[in-house]
Symmetry: C2
Subunit: 622 residues, 2 copies
Amino acid sequence: MALFLKNIDLSEAREIIKNECSNIKLKVEYIDTREALGRVTAEPIFSKISSPHFIASAMDGIATKFIYTLDADINRPVLLKNGQYEVVDTGDPIPEGFDCVIMVEDIQTTDEGVIIRKPAHPYQNIRPVGEDIPMGAMIIPSNHKIRAIDIASLLAGGVNKVPVFEKVRVGIIPTGDELVDVGTMPKRGELIDFNSWTFAALVKEWGGEPIRYDIVKDDFEKIKKVAQRALEECHIVIVNAGSAKGRGDFAEDILSILGELKFHGVSIKPGRPASFSMAEGKAIFGVPGYPVSAYFVMENIVKVGFDTVLKAKTEEKRVVEAILTKKINSSLKNDEFVRVKLGKVKDKLIASPIGRGAGVTMSLTTADGVLVIDKNKEGLEAGEKVSVRLLRDIKDVDSTLVCIGSHDVVLDIISDMMNKRGFNLNSTHVGSMGGIMALKRGETHIAPVHLLDEKGEYNTSYLKRYLGDFALLKFIKRVQGFMVQKGNPLNIKGFKDLKRVRFVNRQKGSGTRMLLDYHLNKLSINVKEINGYEREEITHLNVAAQIASGSADCGLGVLSAAQFMGLEFIPVCFEEYDIAITRDMLYDERFKCFLEVVKSEEFKNKLYEIGGYEINSLDIIY
Amino acid sequence: MALFLKNIDLSEAREIIKNECSNIKLKVEYIDTREALGRVTAEPIFSKISSPHFIASAMDGIATKFIYTLDADINRPVLLKNGQYEVVDTGDPIPEGFDCVIMVEDIQTTDEGVIIRKPAHPYQNIRPVGEDIPMGAMIIPSNHKIRAIDIASLLAGGVNKVPVFEKVRVGIIPTGDELVDVGTMPKRGELIDFNSWTFAALVKEWGGEPIRYDIVKDDFEKIKKVAQRALEECHIVIVNAGSAKGRGDFAEDILSILGELKFHGVSIKPGRPASFSMAEGKAIFGVPGYPVSAYFVMENIVKVGFDTVLKAKTEEKRVVEAILTKKINSSLKNDEFVRVKLGKVKDKLIASPIGRGAGVTMSLTTADGVLVIDKNKEGLEAGEKVSVRLLRDIKDVDSTLVCIGSHDVVLDIISDMMNKRGFNLNSTHVGSMGGIMALKRGETHIAPVHLLDEKGEYNTSYLKRYLGDFALLKFIKRVQGFMVQKGNPLNIKGFKDLKRVRFVNRQKGSGTRMLLDYHLNKLSINVKEINGYEREEITHLNVAAQIASGSADCGLGVLSAAQFMGLEFIPVCFEEYDIAITRDMLYDERFKCFLEVVKSEEFKNKLYEIGGYEINSLDIIY
């Protein structure tokens, strides 16, 4: 095996890719200009005709000779007779012998001819030949991505066919014994292959042509065979999954056998196990299997190769400045990509870090952007100014009501209803106490809370203690209860029964956990007596999912979550789930939209449909 | 005819369009998630399965029970025997009965089993069910444009089909007796219909489906018939051209007859004659024929209707702050759109206004962005901070060498060669003196000049007088001469002959005009004796185009321009065409690239091919 580089810096990896991929040549094809949107020019394009190609009128009016008009004056009108003028519209050619145009507003038509009261000067209101585009002028240079406005200039300049580079073909090979096709219900241990389709969509976004190959089992010879075919058919080949160290990891070997391995391992996180080699003059990338790692390797590594082959810059994601809401630690080994949510709170753009695990696909969908912690930094401090690469339109961020606190499925319903009204609700689930703290730090607009105090009262005492100045929307009452398997096989009826089952809990600071603690305390049950008290999930749905899968027997949560997962539900109590808010937000457009939604008939009907909820007074108390 | 609004504000026009178009309904279709990139969701999408749908290992290593490991310590290794553990890879299901995973780096494999030296805790390195996406979680809301990263979450959540809105169909009807199809060589008075294809490309950029109808003559009944068909087939219909006042202008009538005209005339410039009506529950827009007016009406008026129908925000062009280089006057009547070129000069982003005529298509292709002068302002001052909506990637602007001054076709060649090296050359043609002034005001990086002084010397005396501190690249010598019809029918041999022909001149401040003045002065010819001395064009090619079209007999210019237009050329002299530059730019990457290009063999060969040029010393003098 030839020498290759291990665990190199991202900048070094990019340089290697640029150097190698600049040798991959694309064919030139001549295509119809009308179909050329988004394609990249292979040569500079010069106009073939002048536009306009004749002297034309720039106005509606009459064409005449300026010498006929020299004596005209407001007090001394001049009559132009037949033959001395001709009626022209904008764009009409100037009839032979005439040298100026008088606009329709400046003439008076009579039976004998037209009367003018102002002299004209030569070439007045005349568009010279080539005013728009002279013949032989360069319209666009080579390596230029053709936009709609370029098509106008090209066609006006008589360029009906343009030489463009063929599309960059990217072969995508999903590998792994555990992978099953989309549309198949995965069995235990199986995984739907969604990476390859995501890669294909990314390649389309870049303007390339993805070619996806069928899933290949973890069999060295088979992968090699498909890769060889892909190398013949494509400019760039991606071997997906199996690029970490482990039993079924062939990517490094494949990349070495097929061609010359240039590097394996790049100091980014997620995305470390990326690899790159050149084979038969084509590029092969080994991309890790974890979806989030895969995404960052695609956007930061494979795209460099794609752009180099295309010889054009594909659009970069826009970068904005924001204030970081909480401290992030980072190792000195890697450039780390952190997904963040953004929100505009009092004119400040606020970035809140979310899930950093490499397997949490949803975090990319819900994230508003990504920030990078340089490998030379040990982390970032709360309040630090950071640069965030946007994953969605900044306008969406401006119209977003940020919601940090306790989770409930009604937030999803409100989110959708606000969306239809042109606003967004961006909710992060950190539990009730987390929400109050976010409100205090100015990181959120609203915080859903359900906090039971020692006296058995909800929310107000906590808000007074931690916030001082606040408002509280008395929102909904919801039933909490035990979620158990259908038929309640372990016969769980109360908190005492938790001592003999496998429990799954919510995270510290969540209202549901505090509800549990309140009841355990009243019943003098020690938390150590409960198997799974330390096992934490961060939403009702996640708790329900653990029970549905059989890895736990019981959890505390809301009816809707139990129903979604097909579980049985044993009610424990109704609790008050309210919305805490700072007073200055009460007049904010986004919060007004939230209020409009929760007061609507449609919302009431939806709550009724789900079951387990009552609408509270919807009063705002201070 | 019903009442309609005339010459309303853009904001009012937008409100009317939003209200009316919100009633246009799109059908919902269920499509394969893998093909859903760029489509807009018609409903919120919830996950159908949990991902992962089983408890899985988050690491390569062994699965075991945490209780087996409690006694392990660095000094007191524990041996796990067969049956007490199982080897697992990342993503593998956790075998029944086990509750934690120890990573491969922390175990030592022996013949009897594996040795560990650290206790594990429950659920360590285990991905719980639904960690990624719990079943029933909302993945994306309604009215959401699906991105590549959303496809990952959707497929992982078992959503194989998504309900999306059908594409918005936009019918485009080009009208006008003067229009001919692309591919036809236009006769005198005819115009290639490029607007309709540009509109189609814009609709594609927005994510819609354009339907272009054949060109319709200026015949009321015919236009009406096609429009009625389009109303049946599309959600939005565009009637192009004929929306200004004039003989062939049916748009207002058509819009009134087919439906209810809502407004005609919007106070924007270019773009005033836009109109809008509703017919059979569909939207019809009258869009003016001038290409630049048409573009601004499409982007600022029609797109509002498109977005409203789609119920999703299509991407907005990005806005940057820049310093305006010269004063712009504007009428108080209209919001005025001004096309600008951008350049980074000493860390400042500089915006230079270009052509404001509504007919200059190329100005949109060459512009970097657009600024808006509010109708309540009489104009903008030089040095004022302005917001510019980008027409190209800001990265392109950063790598652009700004060139303002005298025009020569070699600049197009250099531009293309720089482009291949990852840089851009953005040249504006304002003549030599204009270039020197731009350099003085810090608005350009380089200024091409060819200025002959009274002593018959080139460039240096002007630079000393106007700039003080400067550098000058002795660039090329080029032949200047008279451009005349093939065969030189008027037998033009010298400057004296200009008195008896129709001349076409260059603009004041251009080196070519100063060359003319130098010679006329030496020969004591009065400029009044020359017919066409006042007729100005701003490039060599434009002058050549006037002669080629027969509207003038002779002009002064360079050989290459004459050759492009198939004219005869009578040499007058060789002149020194140099590049003026400020000293601090000498070490700039962009200027270095310029130098590299002009010193290359390839450039020399190209100059030789064109003819009429000699390379000067390429020395830089101070």
